[in-house]
Assembly symmetry: C2
Homo-oligomer: 367 residues x 2
């Protein structure tokens, strides 16, 4: 089954009248880890204390949980809580949040839309994974309603965003910190796992505000993540996509950190795009190496995201601005409705699988 012993993602749940604590999803139930493993680290309301323990502890715990769910299942049964009885919370306390721009198809589409006739990629794009800091305090768990932001849409124009968009992304969650002044070591020594992420974006606010210091209010109003963090160990890996030119030494790949993950973007329940993570240009080990090459330190709970995942085909684009070519070619939905950008009441769900493994979904409704 897709939520079986080869998956076992971590989350934070609560039962009515009880404090949030750490659990692992198994089928349609949540394993109450504090009780099943008798370890107080799982009584915390976030994954952070457990993530800080490091790679050996992550591996040993995963092995222990698999054993509990296979050989000891009769004993473990009583610590499995049905999903319908629990509330899911933001699974980790977000320290710093960085958003990258790692899809060559996405970056090229955006370049073509905003600078038609010019070279779509900026000169730096193939030399480094472009990234910027986002707002940690507005990272919310799947299901949290998303309020349409207000803002300046141009000189002298203020009002509700008219071009509310999504960005289908993968988020990487840091467990093990580094010291300021030293770059990070091996990717798998620092990164605990992966979430699905929707980087809600106000395209009209963005277009007016972003020169020269980058997106700010266009992104800071909400970023949604999935409730389940898939451990790195569970993810099937493939070689990264070829890169030209060869990246600088510090950006050489540490191994096969391409991920064969298939995403689906659903608008009001209808699939409108199928972005393939395998099409990404920069791999997550390269993002981590870049983010820390200047000596910037990592903290437990740091979140860095891939940027919009888009493939080369029109049906593989991970944002509405690409799917509708900045609104000029609206999406036709099954019921006869069309969408250039999001309307109030619209629900966007991003879900993903890696072979038999599901990464679950991140969902949010505008209103």
């Amino acid at each position: 089954m897709s939520w079986g012993v080869d998956n076992l993602p971590y989350g934070v749940f609560s039962c009515p009248g009880e404090e949030p604590r750490v659990g692992v999803r198994y089928g349609d139930r949540v394993l109450d880890l504090a009780r099943a493993l008798h370890d107080e680290v799982f009584a915390a309301p976030t994954l952070n204390p457990f993530m800080a323990r490091g790679r050996a502890a992550w591996h040993d715990t995963r092995t222990l949980i698999r054993n509990k769910l296979t050989s000891d299942l009769s004993v473990t049964e009583r610590h499995l809580v049905p999903l319908e009885n629990v509330r899911l919370h933001l699974p980790f306390e977000v320290a710093d949040y960085v958003d990258f721009y790692c899809s060559i198809d996405h970056a090229s589409n955006i370049g073509k839309i905003f600078r038609p006739g010019s070279e779509p990629l900026q000169p730096n794009w193939r030399h480094l994974p472009v990234g910027y800091h986002g707002r940690s305090g507005t990272v919310v768990v799947s299901g949290t309603p998303v309020r349409r932001p207000q803002g300046q849409l141009g000189a002298g124009t203020f009002g509700p965003c008219q071009k509310l968009d999504i960005e289908a992304e993968l988020g990487f969650v840091v467990g093990v910190p580094t010291t300021m002044g030293s770059p990070a070591g091996a990717f798998e020594d620092h990164v605990f796992g992966v979430t699905l992420l929707n980087d809600w974006s106000a395209r009209d606010i963005q277009a007016w505000e972003y020169v020269p210091l980058g997106p700010f209010l266009a992104k800071s109003f909400a970023t949604s993540v999935s409730p389940w963090v898939t451990p790195l160990e569970a993810l099937p890996r493939i070689p990264g996509r070829a890169q030209d030119p060869e990246p600088a030494g510090y950006l050489r790949r540490q191994g096969d950190w391409g991920l064969d993950i298939s995403l689906e973007v659903l608008l009001n329940g209808e699939v409108v795009s199928r972005p393939p993570y395998s099409a990404m240009y920069w791999t997550p080990d390269q993002m981590l190496a870049h983010m820390t090459v200047n000596g910037a330190s990592l903290r437990t709970g740091d979140l860095f995201a891939s940027g919009t995942i888009s493939g080369p085909e029109p049906g593989e684009r991970g944002s509405l601005i690409e799917l509708t070519w900045n609104g000029s070619d609206p999406i036709k939905l099954a019921g006869g409705e069309t969408r250039a950008f999001l309307q109030d009441g619209d629900t966007v769900t991003i879900r993903a699988t890696a072979g038999d493994l599901t990464l679950g979904e991140v969902s949010g409704t505008v209103g």
Copy 2:
């Protein structure tokens, strides 16, 4: 005296062998608040729990401390610890860090340096306070050594930053949070106080990386703040500078939030610039209103900074890139040395006063 009862800034200190806790500076001593006021909120290792109490508590506590230091001084004496016996720590836990770009002289200078012959200000500049998110995890207290970052300095060029710079800024610290979806209320209901801030900047890394998503590694390696947070209540206020065009409704000023603060930038002990905060175009109440107009929430510990403070005169510029016109006109130091940008071993200190009031200093040495 400059650290008298009209000042009383808050910080976090520790005595040898003891845990960090909250204190107030009085003369050359620190008042140990947990002991003097019998309030456990000051036994915390950060100001955050106290800042979260809100404006009425800030005011009442300040009144109480003044009384302790005047009428009760004989009793209070035993809770005053000489500064030379304590270590000063980062005074607050930084939630989100935002850096603005509020000096019209700074923005104009940067425009002239990078786009000679064009209109120096971008079209959006007079319509909104341009800002972006920075890295919270590398905000450090004054005195922390600053390692010169490595990075890409252009296509195929990797190495230590050759254009290491400073930015003299004021930082505003948020005490009272808001709920997502609602803009912040009155400035003084949310903002607890003010720090001095040095936004260390790698200009060569910045020039190569910043298009289109803004500065990232050029800024994320270190940001230094002063150890003392001056309460808003202590600061003398003046009207903000005239603005043309009249800003949008949500950016109308809430009162006189111009600040008559005089800064000095010292390079290896020698004053190289005297930036006047009164020359800033956007006032801090406008920054706060802008940052939250899209519904982005505030958290206790959020830090937002003014951006480089530069006045209209050459001797009033708050960064080396302006003072040396991108290195083309190096600073001549008293000993006969010159500086285009920072060398290893250089110490930069930013200090500030507001009339008789001192805001102390933020200092750091490269190496």
